[in-house]
Amino acid sequence: MSAPGTFMAMESGAELLRFSTCGSVDDGKSTLIGRLLYDTKSIFEDQLAHVEDVSRRRGDEYTNLALLTDGLRAEREQGITIDVAYRYFATPRRKFIIADTPGHIQYTRNMVTGASTANLAIVLVDARQGVVEQTRRHALITSLLRIPHIVFAINKMDLVGWDEGVFRKIEAELRGFAARMDVADVSFIPLSALHGDNVVERSDKGPWYKGPALLHQLEHVHIASDRNLIDVRFPVQWVVRPQAKDHHDYRGYAGQVAGGVLKVGDEVVVLPSGFGSRIARLENFDGPLDEAFAPMSVTVHLADDVDVSRGDMLCRPANRPVVGQDLDAMVCWMGDLPLTPKNRYALKHTTRNVRALVQGIEYRLDVNTGHREQGVAKLERNDLGRITLRTTAPIFYDEYRRNRTTGSFILIDESTNGTVAAGMLLSEPR
């Protein structure tokens, strides 16, 4: 929801930051989110009244801010979040979208879903427990999904008397882990979600901590260079061809830029045909553009009359994606039935739909230890593993670590229409 206090300030246009939150049950995730919403004045009167009322009736000592973020009724009754829920708040600097995801191992797929669009992840750690198996799992998933920034929120510092030693020990352990996971940017913040210390404002508790409060970190983390502005990738989504006299020769290729910067005059190649042309015009509804970058939705006009349709991709002649049918990928399995070699699925990658045959399972990744288990016959729901696929037609892709848009795909079970896997493409085909 929008912050009333910052309503006017927001008008000038702030940046958007998407972040996901993960923690184990009782680490204080709901309390933390409630605290962020409450302290940034993002709560409506009626919501707060409701929460105060429920807290009072339950005999809670404090107004239970965790209640602000409870979702569907069944989940509420179980007292846990079991799906991804999205929440919104804003400050004058940024508008935030939170993907609130559950932490339990049986909900790995929800965590993956929330992480897929995030610029940043907050991983909660209970200061009393220190780094536990679940913490390692959350960090591992975050790094696999290549969320560029991880903030470890060391919560419940009040319960360990704001002891610096406790914090430093956790920090050291997680730093070592993050280095092995190849995470670009990690930070550590000691806080108390319950009392609000170091959440929105810097607290005078724990003067040994010299870093920013969590909100400050969220407002200032540098995300501009996280996108790929080098490799031009434009998956054609929709061909605009008005059936009207005054637009007789109009033929525009509409889509969302997936990488690089498109410029008028640039030489381009159309995949899969390989025809070359030049960008004659770039435009959107508001008028012509000189250039376009991710994630802009624009329309491209080519100088030549080449045949282009949905599912094709425009790129630069000297910088092309991999064109391949033999895929090597990390997948998070989400289906009810397991993944086994020889299964066939529909595969959606950018704006392209093909079919895929599972060739083999290289290994299953133990998400708690990072251990690679070879020789497994199947992947069960919530498993992560590396597989090989063969598609019916080539797709045009980049390694996921280089481009999260052209490096990702989903698998769909054609009998149920369920989305059964999230896939991240690895290196070159063999």
């Binding site: 702030a14 569907l72 999205y86 919104y88 804003a90």
Partner: protein, 302 residues
């Protein structure tokens, strides 16, 4: 703004355009639900941004209870004419005439709930497979988990416990016979984003969103338009008041607020202020808060 960076409204706009084009490319018979309210007016602009200079690859549909504000109906017809798009009106009165639903009678009667039947009948008759709606995740808690492509079974029902995961910007748009999607391109927008966009795009809204004088009556601490289709109790005497409406639903259940907000800037300032009311404040403030609640409940109607 640093170079190669979009402000949040533009980022949300481009995401919504992507959603609309994806739906148009992958579904055969979409349609855009238009209520005449600010959210669906924003949707029309987004559709222009996604498909112009071509026509929309879908018609615009309004579910008309027969008890709508005349100003809104006038606005609807004019807007669709300006856009030169096709309007489908699904009429609750038709459903009543055909015996699909029973018209409730009496002072508290409202046709609001009958709309669902009319809508589902229209979906079946026209074989629509994707309905674009203006619902937002910030409206209420249950919606926080609703997908952008929200699946409906053959009974038109949403199963919140069995939703397809939505990853990256890869939408699974597959359906079985008889099923459909509700597609929510502005899922990630807040009410504030919508108002800012209305302002930025200089979108015209139906006149009842702005302050005007009209005949109203009080009920349950709210003000309602005194109109023929809204039956009043003997004690509910109409009086003149300067008001505006924060939503544009059925007249029988859409409350007005006392307001002098005559421009978009005034309205934005007023919406901002009403959120800041302290609990236990004056009655006038309470009323504004209640109106805010109404806002969110109704706009999520579809």
């Amino acid at each position: 703004m640093p170079h190669y960076q979009l402000d949040h409204l533009t980022a949300l706009e481009h995401e919504a355009i992507h959603v609309l084009r994806e739906m148009a490319a992958e579904r055969e018979r979409p349609c855009l639900l238009f209520s005449g309210g600010k959210d669906s007016i924003v949707l029309l602009r987004l559709a222009e941004k996604a498909f112009r200079p071509a026509r929309f690859p879908f018609p615009v549909m309004h579910v008309d209870t027969g008890h709508n504000f005349p100003e809104v109906i006038e606005f609807r017809d004019r807007r669709v004419r300006e856009l030169q798009e096709r309007l489908v009106v699904a009429s609750v009165e038709d459903s009543i005439r055909r015996g699909r639903v029973v018209d409730p009678k009496g002072p508290r009667a409202s046709r609001n709930r009958l709309q669902t039947t009319t809508l589902l009948d229209a979906i079946e008759e026209q074989r629509f497979d994707a309905l674009i709606g203006g619902a937002r995740r910030d409206e209420e808690r249950a919606r926080a988990k609703e997908r952008i492509f929200s699946h409906r079974d053959e009974f038109g029902q949403w199963d919140p416990k069995n939703q397809r995961p939505e990853l990256w910007s890869l939408y699974n748009t597959r359906l079985k016979q008889g099923e459909h999607f509700r597609v929510f391109p502005i899922s990630n927008w807040t009410e504030l984003d919508v108002w800012q966009y209305v302002k930025r795009e200089r979108l015209e809204l139906p006149s009842i969103y702005y302050s005007h004088e009209r005949s109203v009556f009080a009920r349950d601490g709210m003000l309602y338009a005194a109109a023929e289709c809204v039956e009043r109790l003997p004690s509910e005497t109409p009086f003149r008041e300067v008001v505006r409406f924060r939503t544009v639903g059925d007249m029988t259940c859409t409350g007005a607020v006392r307001s002098r907000a005559a421009t978009i800037e005034d309205v934005i300032a007023e919406v901002a202020a009403s959120r800041q009311t302290e609990r236990g404040a004056t009655r006038a403030d309470d009323r504004a808060t209640e109106a805010a609640m109404e806002d969110r409940k109704k706009e999520g109607y579809f």
